[in-house]
């Protein structure tokens, strides 16, 4: 038998109470309150900035021809990438029977939902006339028009909308037994009512479990191709255009690898403070950190291969514009971003070859923050640097982000963090039903029942 995923001996009751009490009885600490209210303020600023944007127009950002896609699109790609780790952990690792997913799948799914929501906001804001976004959907309009089915931007709308809805269903189905637990353990009348409505009347009958498990498995099976397809479709927004630096067949796998890379970095960014704040060291152990770090190392290598392949194809293909954009990335206006990106995404993750680094929470937290930064720089570089030098020198231009660009980036991070902080107070951050099952299996293997 391999090393157990959980530390110590946890019975059904202990594991249930530990997780449920974080929601039901524990008073929020000072740190949580400070973070909650400061990110809440950040969310309000984000909302106010959005109002200003809608009233004034996208001109408040630094975008202009030739760089008409700036931070908004880069942020969208970055956020949707972060969202991929949740589905990977929930669905792919479930199908692969990886026991360690159980401690982290719930909050990773919540992270996915919130990140995908942030991702969905940016293209809408970038439309300029955000209130006409429904033109992307096929509906019987009086002009008799249809969406342009050959446009990757329409595919994007379908891919991201499907992703959010399926992720939500998967997350909610996983929550049903836990909501029933909260219903049975909550003391306040309002809390009981809310949890009871959410639990839909679940009573844990064997027939319910059989059908539930089947549906959960099928949802996992359906969500698995989404891990690959959503970011592939996002990458087609770029790859189908003929701009040098966009027009590349490596883009779909390269984007998916980058998505998992940044997603696992975000999972660790969340998991490490979470386990410290809630004292979850027995449930989210070094084994989890180690495995997540290994996934980061693997995806970092894939991303590095993507960088190499882009360079190789530019020179092997011999297209002068491809060569020009490649050398521009090395020495041009955005070269510092390029080299910083390589440092964050390729160089520093090499530390993860060492087991001691993979098990050091502090180092992993720092590293995952840097990887998030590095992946964000990669998205900006893809979007901006390719556009600022395309074919005709007379059409070249620089993109310089304005204060509003930074405000929207920081605002989205605050909103994401605020949603997550609210989530861990009102819903169990770890699946109690699955932890009971895991504890049952682990205890059966170990000592007496």
């Amino acid at each position: 038998m391999t090393t157990p995923v959980l530390r110590g001996h946890w019975g059904y009751a202990a594991i249930t109470d530990k997780i449920a009490d974080e929601v039901l009885t524990r008073r929020p600490g000072l740190l949580w309150r400070l973070s909650f209210w400061s990110t809440f303020a950040g969310m309000l600023v984000f909302a106010a900035a959005t109002v200003h944007l809608l009233r004034t127009g996208v001109g408040i950002w630094g975008v202009n021809v030739p760089v008409a896609w700036g931070f908004a699109i880069a942020n969208c790609v970055w956020w949707i990438g972060i969202g991929h780790a949740g589905t990977f952990i929930s669905a792919v690792l479930l199908l692969l029977r990886q026991k360690w997913r159980t401690s982290i799948n719930r909050f990773a799914e919540a992270m996915t939902l919130f990140a995908a929501t942030m991702a969905a906001i940016f293209p809408l804001l970038h439309l300029g006339r955000a209130w006409k976004f429904y033109w992307l959907a096929p509906y019987p309009d009086t002009m008799g028009l249809w969406p342009q089915w050959r446009s990757p931007l329409v595919w994007d709308f379908f891919a991201i909308a499907t992703y959010i809805i399926v992720s939500f269903m998967f997350w909610y189905v996983g929550l049903i037994p836990d909501l029933a637990t909260l219903r049975d353990r909550a003391t306040g009348r309002v809390k009981r009512l809310v949890f009871a409505l959410g639990a839909l009347g679940w009573c844990g009958e064997a027939r319910q479990w059989v059908h539930y498990e089947k549906a959960y498995l099928l949802l996992a099976g359906l969500a698995t191709p989404l891990v690959v397809s959503v970011h592939s479709v996002v990458s087609l927004d770029f790859a189908i255009g003929n701009t040098p630096g966009y027009h590349s067949t490596i883009f779909p796998p390269y984007f998916v690898a980058g998505a998992l890379f940044s997603g696992f970095a975000m999972v660790l960014t969340i998991a490490i403070p979470l386990r410290r704040a809630f004292g979850l060291h027995d449930l989210i152990t070094e084994v989890h950190l180690d495995h997540a770090a290994k996934v980061m190392l693997a995806t970092s290598t894939l991303v590095a291969y993507g960088y190499l392949s882009e360079i190789f194809m530019a020179f092997y293909g011999g297209d002068r514009y491809d060569i020009a954009i490649t050398t521009d990335r090395w020495v041009g206006a955005y070269a510092p971003v390029y080299w910083a990106m390589l440092g964050c995404n390729v160089l520093l993750p090499q530390l993860l070859w060492w087991r001691r680094c993979r098990r050091s929470a502090v180092l992993l937290l720092g590293l995952s923050l840097l990887i998030n930064l590095g992946m964000w720089m990669e998205r900006v570089l893809i979007v901006v640097s390719s556009l600022h030098r395309d074919f005709v020198p007379s059409a070249w231009g620089l993109f310089i982000p304005t204060a509003w660009d930074w405000l929207f980036l920081l605002g989205s991070i605050c909103t994401f963090a605020w949603l997550f902080l609210a989530f861990i107070r009102v819903l169990p951050a770890i699946s109690m039903a699955e932890m009971r099952e895991l504890g049952h299996e682990q205890n059966a293997v170990g000592a007496a029942p």
Binding site: G11, Y12, A13, T16, D17, P138, G144, L145, W146, P147, W149, R150, P152, V154, W155, F158, A159, A161, T162, I165, V166, M169, V173, I176, P177, A180, T181, D184, R185, A196, L200, G201, W202, C203, G204, E205, A206, R207, Q208, W209, V210, H211, Y212, K214, A215, L218, L219, L222, A223, P225, L226, S229, V233, L236, A433, E434, R436, E437, H440, P449
Partner: protein
């Protein structure tokens, strides 16, 4: 004993193994409507009660097929029949361009199908259930395991049921009011 017929007779167990053993015993004794309640998906419980998931995979498949074909048809209809646009002489029926949306809708409707079939099969949402009246039943979602013999089972006899449950060494036996 027979004032008003109870909904069933409920036995309470401390462990998952005891519940599976008890479920096997009552199933062997001919009970068709025995219901077992557990705080997690206990391995072997479905076999002990001869339960199998029904209809979910089919609903999921139907959803997937409807999504894929419906999505493809929508795009074909829009581009070929309803509003054909000639862009550089490209064929209106440019099928590779229709794949991403068809795929998305296949996944979406497949997931919706599986979810609806699951809720339908297990009778959710249904906020009231007689077993919620049983003592300690709030622990069924925490650390206790219950086995209920329903009184509408053809082989149910109050006295024999109690004897049978007694022989399984439960922590307690109680009547569930209907």
């Amino acid at each position: 004993m027979s004032r008003t017929a109870p909904w069933g007779l409920m036995a309470e167990f401390a462990g998952a193994e005891a519940l599976v053993a008890a479920a096997r015993a009552v199933h062997a004794a001919g009970y068709q409507r025995a219901e077992a309640y557990a705080p997690f998906a206990v391995e072997g419980l479905d076999e002990a009660l001869a339960l199998r998931p029904r209809g979910i995979a089919a609903a999921c498949l139907i959803g997937t097929v409807v999504g894929a074909l419906g999505g493809y048809f929508m795009q074909w209809y829009a581009n070929v029949i309803s509003y054909p646009v000639d862009i550089g002489g490209r064929p209106p029926h440019s099928w590779p361009m229709f794949v991403p949306v068809s795929f998305s809708l296949a996944v979406l409707l497949g997931a919706v199908g599986a979810l609806i079939a699951m809720l339908w099969r297990v009778g959710l949402p249904g906020l009231y259930h007689p077993v919620f009246n049983a003592p300690d039943f709030d622990l069924a979602t925490r650390n206790r395991f219950f086995l209920c013999l329903r009184s509408d089972d053809p082989v149910f006899d109050p006295d024999q049921a109690r004897v049978l449950l007694d022989s399984l060494a439960p922590m307690r036996i109680s009547e569930v009011a209907s």
